[in-house]
């Protein structure tokens, strides 16, 4: 048996940083772990952001990976996560506390922190900290944010990459974290890469330079940093202004159909993860944020065109979108 105590005296390295609309107070026994917070230091933190505690032990007993596995389970206020390379993390959603043990490989793997541990942590704890994690992409241009939602397989990531090519900055590809700041809504991303399935290479020949690999959910995909599509294509936060729901059709062309606040509210609420009854405040907060978001101008984008033409149509539509749905 490996018995590890999270005694504060063992966690000598400490820091605080903001990410995804929340604030993390990190304590660890590992200087390598501490360094992963550096990209998140600085900036102007949301004064309304709530804090969670994250205690991380680097321990050699976690060893090297024998087989690749990612495993999540949750019951009531507790969540367990097994991640590769060889890490085990527990989440206490009532006390807003994270405790994890990471292998030396994971402690020194910046990609693991950037694309797995930190996004997963904000995704799991977010609702208890006043943040609504929503399954949508977010892009911004000139400070105005555009949320891009749609059912799985609609082509959000491909369209996100096409918009990045057209000088939209990418805040997030897959999950966007919406919180309140001084009475307005803020959309945050966690600098995760854009995930593109292998067949998207037909729209982006530059993907030939990269190799798809097996992602956490077992499917093969390219995971591409947004700046690969455009040098200034990455941003971490913006104020959302418009919402677009992408729908694929077989009819050529791209049409923008204004949608009601009821549609927007229903879409986000019906696609949100069910939360346990132990977290009533989290459910209420998420619901309030979605209600507020549903008042934003929104359209269904029905497109039978390729992602580049759809991105062009959205770009041309934005001046009209600024006037709101008619």
């Amino acid at each position: 048996m490996v018995n590890l105590s999270f005694d504060r005296a063992n966690l000598v390295f400490r820091t605080e940083f903001s990410l995804g609309g929340v604030r993390c107070r990190l304590s660890t026994n590992s200087y390598k772990v501490l360094q992963h917070s550096i990209p998140w230091q600085g900036g102007s933190p949301n004064p309304e952001a709530k804090t969670f505690e994250m205690d991380i032990l680097e321990d050699a007993s976690m060893g090297s990976p024998t087989e690749s596995r990612t495993h999540f389970r949750g019951v009531r206020h507790l969540v367990f996560a097994m991640l590769e390379p060889r890490s085990f993390v527990s989440y206490d959603l009532l006390r807003k506390q994270v405790r994890g043990v990471v292998s030396p490989d994971a402690a020194s793997d910046h990609t693991f922190w950037k694309t797995q541990l930190l996004p997963i942590t904000v995704g799991i704890l977010g609702t208890t900290l006043g943040v609504a994690p929503l399954h949508c992409a977010c892009l911004t241009r000139n400070g105005d944010g555009l949320l891009l939602a749609g059912l799985s397989g609609a082509g959000k990531s491909t369209l996100t990459a096409a918009l990045a090519r057209r000088r939209f900055a990418v805040v997030s590809d897959d999950w966007t974290y919406i919180s309140r700041n001084r009475g307005t809504l803020v959309a945050d991303g966690l600098s995760a890469p854009i995930k593109l399935l292998p067949d998207t290479v037909r729209f982006f020949p530059e993907l030939h330079k990269f190799a798809p690999h097996k992602t956490m959910n077992g499917e093969m995909a390219y995971e591409i940093e947004p700046e690969k599509f455009h040098p200034v294509a990455e941003f971490t936060s913006c104020s959302p202004k418009w919402i677009f729901f992408l729908e694929r059709t077989s009819v050529p062309g791209c049409r923008f159909v204004p949608c009601t606040s009821t549609y927007t509210r229903h879409f986000f609420k019906s696609n949100a993860e069910r939360l346990p009854e132990e977290l009533p405040a989290a459910q209420e907060t998420r619901s309030e944020i979605i209600d507020r978001l549903s008042e934003y101008p929104s359209w269904i984008v029905r497109s039978g065109d390729d992602p580049h033409k759809t991105a062009e149509a959205i770009e041309q539509f934005l001046p009209e979108a600024t006037l709101g749905p008619r």
Binding site: V2, R76, H77, F80, S90, P119, T215, A272
Partner: protein, 154 residues
């Protein structure tokens, strides 16, 4: 992060399997602690002395929620035990994940489908019993400490 990406055919709005029903219920005793067990598998009802319903003063109460996880493969691996504060967490690989909340008097566990009745009774039940006893003792100590501190404040 798209937890929903890991669903593999399960309810996409419950990627963590939080809402697996545990309709089977009974009461046992672990030492002097009264334990209410709820589970979704008859084979996870522990062979422990049944609770007679006689409540003696000072008996601690605990709740076990044991979820048979039909999507968690593998046998028990070496135990990783994380301790400190009001929680004790144990992992034996995907086949057994346990969280004990001392303050709330709860033991919450997922047990994989390959963990058979013998291993459950001979290995896991004694382990869960020890975790429960330790948590009940720690809760008693915390309560005493709180009472002592509130007395001091008066």
């Amino acid at each position: 992060m798209a937890l929903a990406d890991f669903v593999h055919g399960h309810d996409p709005l419950d990627p963590l399997r939080r809402f697996m029903a545990t309709p089977l219920r009974t009461r046992f005793r672990v030492g002097t602690t009264r334990v209410m067990v709820q589970t979704n598998d008859f084979r996870l009802l522990p062979e422990l002395p049944l609770d007679t319903g006689v409540d003696q003063a000072g008996n601690a109460r605990f709740e076990w929620k044991l979820v048979r996880d039909h999507d968690a493969p593998g046998l028990l691996e070496e135990t990783l035990l994380l301790t400190g504060g009001p929680l004790t967490i144990a992992s034996m690989g995907p086949a057994c994940l346990v969280g004990v909340d001392h303050e709330r008097g709860e033991l919450l566990a997922f047990i994989g489908y390959e963990v058979d009745s013998r291993v459950f009774q001979e290995v896991l039940v004694p382990f869960l019993g020890r975790l429960t006893t330790a948590a009940a003792e720690s809760r008693k100590y915390t309560n005493l400490l709180n009472e002592h501190q509130s007395t001091l404040h008066w």
